[in-house]
């Protein structure tokens, strides 16, 4: 390859630097904010059924986020991360895939899991770290995962899922499955070494993975201008020799179209794709964050006008697939359901003390077992100090 570049590059005899911004990258837009479609726009493959499911998932996402941010303020859960204003990226991503495709997310992509049908109870049990949580109450709220729904359990260290997605997709391809892996990450996480390692591994080894960057303008307080000076994240896909597309991340139809086409390409060619979805994190980074310390209300207000959910609603109304009465009824029902689910989940017991030592390995090693035996004796001696487990020690 290097020799090809040596012998096949056009030759110049005066130094010719290529400008760092010389690659021009267009942005795909299909749906306007008022619900109309851009002239000559190429529509994704979407019928009323898929559209309705997608819209209902967006609505559920909005309501769950609203309620859980409030629940955190009331001290009912310890932590939460909303995806306000960028829900189309995760929901649209899942809508453009098949259920057998693997989703490896960062943390702000609960919408994809909602689309797959993770139950409200499962969301709640995870956030309340109770004994019914699939993750056994071990991780902070919003670190969901489900083998059944092909959604890899979230890991807090940023970027780690990116090279893993390359390996996962390589395995899918080797096995001859009709399945790809989608890998979500923020424009901040794209600075991590793992991003560069992952894209290059996928490109060189031809793994059918869809790298999906949610470029929402911020990594906690750091604006994207202080994150990179190149042409966004998309330009890097080109650098790794990968098919790349930039889209309007608040345009659900653009998201679905890009993911559908990427999936088709990844399966047919067995190669990776990079999608960069431009959006904005309208809410705080997490419930531990207050954006007023680093950005203006005017900036936020500007992005309020690009609400992806309202945009899809406008389209649904225009299609005649949705009406205001349905809208009111749906949101009312969702709010009631979420409130009721909170009340149930917070009453479910914490995980049993045995969950402390399982899954470190496939089997508990002897030293850990003896530490655990000592712990049980200790808890029985001081039951008042360990109220969640003392009553249940066998």
């Amino acid at each position: 390859m290097n020799t090809d570049i040596y012998s096949e590059s056009p030759v110049v005899h005066e130094p010719a630097f290529i400008d760092g911004h010389s690659v021009e990258i267009p942005i795909l837009k299909i749906l306007k904010q008022d619900g109309s479609i851009y002239k000559n726009a190429a529509m994704p493959n979407i019928d009323q059924e898929l559209a309705t499911k997608t819209y209902k998932t967006l609505a559920f996402h909005r309501v769950l986020d609203e309620r859980m941010v409030a629940a955190q303020r009331q001290g009912r859960i310890s932590f939460y991360m909303a995806a306000l204003g960028e829900e189309a990226a995760s929901v649209g991503g899942a809508a453009g895939l098949k259920d057998q495709d693997m989703i490896m997310a960062q943390y702000r992509e609960q919408g994809a899991l909602m689309f797959r049908g993770f139950s409200l109870e499962n969301f709640m049990n995870q956030m309340f770290s109770n004994e019914k949580d699939l993750g056994k109450g071990r991780q902070m709220p919003i670190h969901y995962g489900s083998r059944e729904l092909n959604y890899m359990t979230i890991s807090s260290p940023l970027g780690t899922q990116i090279p893993q997605a390359a390996g996962y997709a390589y395995g899918q391809k080797m096995q001859g499955l009709d399945a790809v892996t989608i890998c979500y990450f923020g424009e901040g996480a794209a600075s991590e070494g793992d991003f560069h390692a992952g894209l290059n591994m996928a490109a060189v080894h031809q793994a059918p993975v869809i790298f999906f960057c949610r470029n929402n303008g911020y990594a906690i307080s750091t604006p994207s201008e202080e994150q990179y000076v190149g042409n966004g994240i998309a330009s890097r896909g080109v650098g790794y020799g990968m098919k790349t597309i930039r889209i309007d991340g608040n345009d659900i139809l653009a998201v679905i179209a890009a993911v559908q086409l990427s999936r088709e390409y990844a399966i047919k060619e067995g190669k990776p794709v990079l999608i960069e979805a431009m959006s904005y994190r309208l809410g705080a980074h997490s419930t531990s964050d207050d954006p007023s310390g680093y950005r203006t209300r005017e900036e936020e207000a500007k992005w309020q006008e690009h609400d992806p959910i309202l945009r899809m609603k406008n389209w649904m109304l225009a299609q005649g697939w949705w009406d205001e009465a349905q809208e009111t009824a749906l949101f009312e029902k969702l709010r009631d359901e979420v409130l009721a689910a909170v009340k149930v989940a917070e009453k479910i017991a914490k995980p049993p003390v045995e969950d402390l030592i399982t899954d470190v390995y496939d089997q508990v090693p002897p030293l850990l077992q003896s530490q655990f035996d000592e712990l049980k004796v200790h808890i029985k001696k001081y039951p008042q100090a360990y109220p969640f487990t003392a009553g249940r020690i066998k």
Binding site: G137, A189, G193, S221, T222, E226, L356, I357, I379
Partner: protein
């Protein structure tokens, strides 16, 4: 003297250094305008400008690699890693580069002007990735110094000494105490020595050793033991590497009993290194086996954090066991 919490004490130390040394630079993720997610670098960008206090891209290996280069060039590099749990992408830069810069070059080059600050430790409902105490990984690396303060006064004095020390230092900040620990801190410049432990409570029956946020837990256990008439000598190790064997050995020689406690898991933790050395130094004076009270050999959990932790009751039990051995 002013009352400061641990964060304010850190901020005061950084301010002191940046004011006196215009080649001192503070950087890391969200460290600039925002002042860090815990606000330890609050106000520094306003005061010293964007070229001396800034946000970096989100890449720990970049932060520390950059810091190594900057320090090698002779500037004072003070890098922040947002959480100690996220220091591992920079492990290579720290273990293979920071620690070995001087040795491999015959001291043609060194990164003595590097300091890495990072919040560590549990007890804040942070689960696996906002709770770890990774000091032992770094203690296994000759060439590094590893420092952990227990309160605001210690934090300022030890951080100033760490920054000015001519070796790369990892400074672990007990984040559980960032706002919870408040005390008198001089506004002026002062240093506390590296490599020196401190006896924080004199006692005669048993020696208790800890560092960082765990010192407070050990003090609580000692108070329970005191009610039983047991006199505990409490030592704060302060510097993990190189550690003060003499102060600890002298105490154990006197008391004949020794409990060492750390937040991190038991196996291969720094408490194990201490136990081995003290056993060798004080063998003929020991009246009971050395006890290590540590986190369990599991990742740091969330819902069962209380059960997992080396709390004061577990330390108290270890004290009683040692006394009645």
């Amino acid at each position: 003297m002013a009352q400061m919490n641990l964060l304010q004490a850190i901020n005061s130390a950084l301010d002191t250094v940046m004011a006196e040394n215009d080649r001192a630079v503070c950087f890391g993720e969200d460290v600039g305008h925002f002042g860090g997610v815990f606000r330890a670098t609050s106000g520094l960008q306003e005061k010293y400008g964007k070229s001396r206090c800034f946000n970096t891209p989100l890449v720990e290996q970049g932060v520390i690699g950059f810091a190594n280069g900057l320090a090698a060039q002779g500037s004072t590099a003070i890098a922040e890693i947002q959480f100690a749990d996220y220091i591992f992408p920079a492990f290579d830069q720290i273990v293979n580069e920071s620690a070995k810069f001087r040795y491999r070059s015959g001291n043609e080059f060194n990164v003595g002007k590097l300091t890495i600050r990072t919040p560590y430790g549990g007890g804040i409902a942070g689960g696996l990735y906002h709770s770890q105490s990774p000091e032992a990984y770094f203690a296994h690396t000759p060439g590094l110094k590893v420092v952990v303060p227990r309160n605001p006064y210690q934090a300022k004095g030890l951080l100033l000494a760490s920054i000015r020390d001519d070796n790369p230092v990892i400074f672990f900040e007990p984040k559980r105490l960032y706002r919870a620990s408040v005390g008198e801190v001089p506004a002026e410049d002062y240093e506390l020595p590296l490599g020196k432990a401190e006896v924080v409570q004199k006692g005669s029956d048993i020696t208790l050793l800890a560092w960082g946020a765990q010192v407070e837990i050990v003090e609580k256990a000692a108070a329970l033991a005191a009610a039983d008439g047991i006199s505990c000598e409490i030592i704060d190790l302060r510097t993990i590497l190189p550690w003060d064997i003499e102060t600890v050995a002298n105490s154990v020689t006197k008391t004949g009993r020794f409990v060492v406690s750390q937040e991190a898991p038991l196996t291969a933790g720094f408490a194990s290194e201490i136990a081995a050395t003290i056993q060798q130094e004080c063998f003929l004076h020991l009246e009971a086996p050395i006890a290590r009270v540590c986190g369990m050999d599991t990742p740091y959990p969330l819902a069962l954090e209380k059960e997992y932790a080396a709390d004061h009751l577990k330390i108290y039990e270890a004290i009683k066991n040692s006394m009645t051995y």
